[in-house]
């Protein structure tokens, strides 16, 4: 390794680390180094469903997602990325299966509309106009936001990484962070298996492994890994526009631009772990659930199943910002299953916070200190 020092070291080459490195370089930080132990997008990013939605139950999440969508809409130009990140705004159709849930959805829509997010409320029959083969049994209502969508997670991470490099950031892959040197509560250096990088600032974007990184700096960070599984079918003609999601079934399903259907469900009782092996229970549970909600998909062959980790936090919300008492130690992790969609705005906010001392979107409520203060953020709209 030639590099002996850096202004800032970003740990983790997932979409969050890549976006953060790019935004830091864009704000003029010339000496950014991103350290990734494997390859870009090899963690949760390359394993995710890559859905992007703005339908949330808290103002903060709505605003973060809305701002992220605004970046996604112009991302190819913004990052000058010729292959394109394949952002498609084909909407999110969210299904409600109880009166209680439907009431919550209606409250969400009110909030979303007040924040300039255009969401429609639909009857089950209205939902069927959007997805004609939707099974309506037990469904009470649905909400639909056309500007929600999905992007290609590999391209998104590559686009940020390449753009960061062009602005002078250095990206070190196949390099593992082994230790972080701290003196008098100040970061001194990041020690990797390929050498030591002297620095005074670290951004911890290590996904599910973020607690291990924090530990190296002597910090107890309440972030852990939780396996989530997903599968993809053979490609067929375009027949379903939006991402279909149901909290009741803990289910989501989307047809990719390539034509294959990608889908996941949460598995009850999943323990804290770094396990990313596939299970047959998921395959069966997934098949049974999707055949209930979208019956014709039962005819498709499964091409592949895989698993990835959610980087969970105690309130299932991200942990963003500096982490006292260690000066120069920043977190951007704990995304709990919705980190891809907010990554563009998280990268911007982190860079602004680090370079300018303040971010344009207020993320102060998402600091690590909230757990000690007992100020957890409650988001009623999450899916596994």
């Amino acid at each position: 390794m030639n590099r002996k020092s850096a202004d800032i070291v970003v740990i983790g080459g997932g979409v969050v680390g890549c976006a953060t490195a790019f935004e830091l370089a864009r704000l003029g930080c010339k000496n950014v180094v991103l350290v990734e132990r494997n390859t870009i997008a090899s963690g949760s990013t390359g394993r995710c469903g890559a859905g992007v939605r703005q339908q949330f139950g808290t103002e903060l999440n709505c605003v973060l997602a809305r701002e992220a969508v605004r970046i996604f809409e112009h991302m190819d130009e913004y990052l000058d990325y010729e292959p394109g990140v394949e952002f498609r705004q084909s909407g999110y159709l969210m299904l409600a299966y109880s009166d209680q849930q439907w009431e919550q959805f209606q409250r969400n829509v009110e909030l979303e509309r007040s924040l300039d997010i255009d969401v429609k409320m639909l009857t089950p029959e209205g939902a069927r106009e959007i997805v004609p083969f939707l099974d309506l049994e037990g469904m009470v209502g649905a909400t639909f936001c056309q500007t929600d969508g999905h992007a290609n997670p590999f391209h998104t991470a590559f686009a940020y990484a390449q753009a960061a490099k062009r602005l002078g950031a250095e990206i070190l892959t196949h390099t593992s962070v082994m230790d972080i040197e701290v003196e008098n509560n100040k970061i001194q250096a990041v020690v990797t298996d390929k050498g030591r990088i002297a620095t005074s600032a670290v951004v911890n974007c290590a996904g599910a492994y973020s607690a291990k990184i924090a530990k190296m700096a002597g910090i107890d960070l309440p972030v852990w890994g939780e396996r989530h599984q997903i599968l993809i079918t053979e490609p067929v003609e375009a027949m379903m526009g939006p991402m279909v999601i149901s909290f009741h079934h803990d289910f989501y399903c989307q047809q990719t631009p390539h034509g294959s259907f990608i889908m996941g469900i949460g598995m009850p009782g999943e323990p804290k772990s770094f396990n990313i092996r596939s299970s047959v229970d998921f395959l069966e549970g997934m098949a049974n659930t999707v055949m209930k909600i979208l019956p014709p998909l039962g005819n498709l062959r499964v091409v592949r199943q895989w698993a990835g980790l959610y980087d969970m936090s105690p309130d299932a919300q991200p942990i963003l910002g500096e982490c006292p008492p260690i000066e120069g130690f920043y977190n951007a992790n704990g995304f709990s299953g919705h980190g891809f969609m907010v990554s563009p705005i998280v990268g911007q906010a982190m860079a602004e916070l680090i370079i300018l001392g303040k971010s344009s979107v207020d993320i102060s409520k998402l600091d690590a200190g909230r757990f000690e203060r007992g100020e957890l953020v409650f988001e009623p709209a999450v899916v596994g």
């Binding site: 596939s278 047959v280 395959l283 069966e284 019956p295 039962g298 199943q305």
Partner: protein, 376 residues
Amino acid sequence: MRQAETTRTVNLLKEVDVAVIGAGPAGLAAALACAEAGVSTLLIDANDAPGGQLVKQTHKFFGSERQHAGTRGIQIPSLFTEKLANYPNVEIMWNTNASGFYDSGELVLEDEKRFMKILPKRMIVAAGASERFLIFRNNDLPGVYGAGAVQTLMNVYGVVPGDRVMMIGSGNIGLIVSYQLIQAGVDVAAVVEAAPCIGGYLVHAAKLRRAGVPILTSHTVLAAHGQESVTGATIAEVDKEWQPMPGTEREVECDVICLAVGLMPLVDVLWHAGCEMKYVPELGGHVPVRDENMRTSNPKVYAAGDSGGVEEASSAMVTGEIAGISAAKSLGHQAPGADARLAQLKADLAAIRSGPTGEKISAGVRCATVCGGVWE
């Protein structure tokens, strides 16, 4: 799209002593050995008939006599199935794909209609190999075939792939398939080979030369041409680094480009089973590390035939039988004389691999054998 009423999950978890994946020569030999040892055996193949690659081999076999040399490949499967039919402890599932093996020990099978789970005490993976592909412009045009596919078309279905074929690769498969094409009345424009010398046996090459087919060594294909399907190709000479030399490009008229550029072991289920794998170019790619009883690092999983490294049909039958005897033995079952038979098979295998063409394979096998020859 049809409604999915025909697709059903069968939740019955069927238990079996040994599941054998693949009914090519390796799987057939493995299943027969298990049958003789008296363990309950389930033989699974994605095809509708036994034999794997053998079904396309109308030529007489080279190789050792005990492994049916002189017999035509297509005749071998029935020798096994006739014997297997006598064993009530054997069940065979055709048209069934083994699609996954999970940490829970469950093997997942599917056919057109059903999804099934099996709980095998032992698993023998004899899934064979798949054909390698080449990267060149327009390589997805209809008319670009694998050699195995061309052989299946002709020898199984009696269909010729086109009128004029350009063969890529001068290994035995490329040479044999070229000759079979000529016998079927198809023109072979040329055999193109990137290496400076012919890969296969000279007897096969000589037959082609006599038929007037040029064998162009140090050449490669750069592009396929055509709108709807292949109408021609650009080939060029390559230098010592296998790089095309500018100015040597030339056009070849053909409606089929046939790729005979090697095989790659099919090892997906072995990856699923967490077997220790190693990249061994001499054996065609990633292969499982094994002991001499064909056991992988997963004590429940054995690999035989091309799945353990690309070789040939005779060694596939030998490794299959070794795996079958060993898997049954590990469950406490053994046919009379099994130990002597095992010793004989190991000697046969060494003999098969001892010839001049076996050198490369032997080097590969040494690489892919567990340290000390046995698992701890």
